[in-house]
């Protein structure tokens, strides 16, 4: 039996209704201002700094336990771990040997196509704070915030692949929305054939979906999905997941594709925030890039296979001619090609040079410089 001890039974609390209405209006005002006008960033930031000690206090026993377990682990365990890590490092270094050369080569080739892909510039490692934010949304709190230059929409990776993106930034912390959140979608590409689509979260950490693939699409179980870099938020070429199962129902126009995420969404403790850098392919590249990315450049489309040469040789021309509408954009390379080949014969040295010796984050695409952190 629950005993309420308060002997104050004076029937009324003065103005309960009035105060209820007052506080409710205040709360409604907060909701509207926060949602509609986004004016409450400062207040929210201040409140989150106030809440930070509570969050740290809650998370610390678990971190303390991890630390304790680590510090009492036996010498043999540590040795075994060290050996394993060294082996992994050796393998990773071995794979890295060719990486820089390949990256340079890739940039040269992209410069030839005037296709400046965003590449990663800088990483920052953050730890996931051991907190449950919301049982129904796949989000985590990370101990890096506005102070460290983290920004909303920033791509977040773990050692396996893409983890998610930053949904909200506070002063000291930031909230990362996982790939698997039901409200999250990421542009991807099948590594085997370049087929582009969008991977959507399911609310289940072990599963993503590809809801927009036709029944006849060339996708099989085991295909690796990588980020396509379209949309500009995520760097291109990072693993997102592997196709686990493809269900094709001839009665449906779309296939039902399950994907297993590459990142350890439910196990990772450390995340990497990524800053993108535009490959510097000359200042003239920017308008051409904008124009080509607006056209439907399917890898299976032979017209676009030609277009790189055309747009390199005459960036301004490609930009202007491909601008009007799609059908004429598809034609453009065809009549621009002869000129392109002639120009390309003397172009290569000049075209290949810029990316090689200008690794600085040149403002190639003005629209995106806002996202490049200091």
């Amino acid at each position: 039996m629950v005993a309420f001890r308060n002997t104050d039974t004076s029937g009324r609390t003065t103005g309960l209704l009035l105060r209820c209405v007052l506080y409710s209006l205040l709360a409604l005002g907060l909701i509207i201002f926060d949602k509609r006008y986004d004016h409450l960033g400062q207040i929210r930031r201040f409140l989150s700094v106030v809440a930070y000690p509570v969050q740290v206090a809650v998370a610390s026993p678990f971190e303390g336990w991890d630390w304790f377990r680590e510090s009492v682990s036996s010498r043999e365990t540590l040795r075994a771990d060290k050996a394993k890590l060294e082996a992994e490092l050796r393998l990773a270094n071995f794979r890295l040997q060719r990486f820089e050369a390949l990256e340079a080569e890739s940039q040269r080739l992209r410069a030839l196509r005037d296709n400046t892909a965003a590449i990663t510039d800088r990483f920052l490692v953050g730890d996931i704070m051991d907190l449950d934010l919301d049982a129904f949304r796949e989000r985590v709190l990370v101990d890096k915030g506005a102070r460290d230059g983290v920004f909303v929409g920033q791509a977040v990776l773990d050692s396996g692949g893409v983890f998610g993106q930053v949904a909200r930034v506070e002063q000291l912390t930031s909230e990362v929305i996982l790939l698997s959140d039901a409200a999250h979608a990421i542009p991807v590409q099948i590594n085997r054939n370049g087929l582009r689509t969008i991977a959507v979260g399911t609310g289940d950490m072990s599963r993503l979906k590809l809801p927009y693939l036709a029944t006849s699409a060339d996708v099989v179980a085991g295909d690796l999905l990588v980020t396509s870099g379209l949309g500009g938020g995520f760097p291109a070429g990072y693993p997102v997941g592997t196709v686990a199962e493809v269900k094709r129902d001839p009665a449906q126009s779309l296939a039902d594709v399950d994907v297993r995420p590459a990142a350890a969404l439910d196990r990772s403790r450390e995340l990497m925030f990524v800053w993108l850098k535009q490959a510097a392919a000359g200042s003239a590249a920017a308008p051409a890039t904008a124009a080509t990315s607006a056209t439907p450049t399917s890898p299976a489309n032979p017209a676009t296979a030609n277009s790189p040469g055309a747009s390199t040789a005459a960036p301004a021309k490609a930009a202007t001619t491909s601008a009007p509408d799609k059908p004429s954009a598809a034609k453009t390379p065809a009549h621009a090609a002869p000129a392109a080949h002639a120009a390309a014969a003397r172009a290569p040295p000049a075209a290949a040079k810029p990316p090689a010796d200008s690794p600085k984050p040149a403002a190639a695409a003005p629209s995106r410089t806002g996202e490049i952190a200091p």
Binding site: M1, R5, D8, C20, S24, I31, L40, L47, D132, L133
Partner: protein, 158 residues
């Protein structure tokens, strides 16, 4: 009366902070959906037990704290908690003489109302959570209400 109010403030603040910590403490994903709204239950308790000490201000601040730690739109939990705490305050004289079962049932109604307001604002702000499991929290909350209320009434017993 004044003394009474002052005495109550410390256990009130302490229990609210502990409940806030319990609201974000990491649990295995399988159990997470079954987590009752501790802070809400604590606010209900104080709304019934001594509405003058904390009252709706406590409800509002606790709701704001939940908004911040959960990272949802500011004011969502504050609104829901204010409305339901006002209802609980309104019902408090009846609640005090209710049997445990009737109390739990009333708390269930209050918690469901709370979830409904959250659900509504989720939908209105464009990120609806439509899983059924969100309606589990009121059930669990009503089930553990006698425990929470018992513990809290012991906490400030003299």
């Amino acid at each position: 009366m004044m003394r009474d109010t002052r005495v109550r403030r410390l256990p009130m603040a302490l229990s609210a902070v502990v409940a806030l910590a319990l609201a974000v403490i990491p649990l295995p994903a399988a159990v997470d959906a079954f987590r009752p709204d501790f802070l809400v239950l604590v606010v209900f308790y104080w709304s019934i037990e001594s509405p003058r000490a904390g009252g709706l201000a406590l409800a509002f601040v606790a709701g704001l704290a939940l908004d911040v730690v959960r990272g949802v739109v500011l004011g969502q939990h504050a609104l829901a908690l204010t409305l339901m705490a006002a209802w609980a305050t309104h019902l408090r004289l009846r609640l005090r003489v209710f049997s445990v079962l009737s109390q739990s049932l009333t708390i269930f109604a209050l918690l469901t109302g709370y979830q409904f307001v959250l659900f509504w604002i989720d939908g209105a702000t464009g990120n609806p959570v439509t899983t059924f499991s969100r309606w589990l929290a009121p059930v669990i909350g009503a089930l553990i209400w006698p425990l929470i209320a018992g513990a809290l009434s012991r906490s400030h017993a003299r």
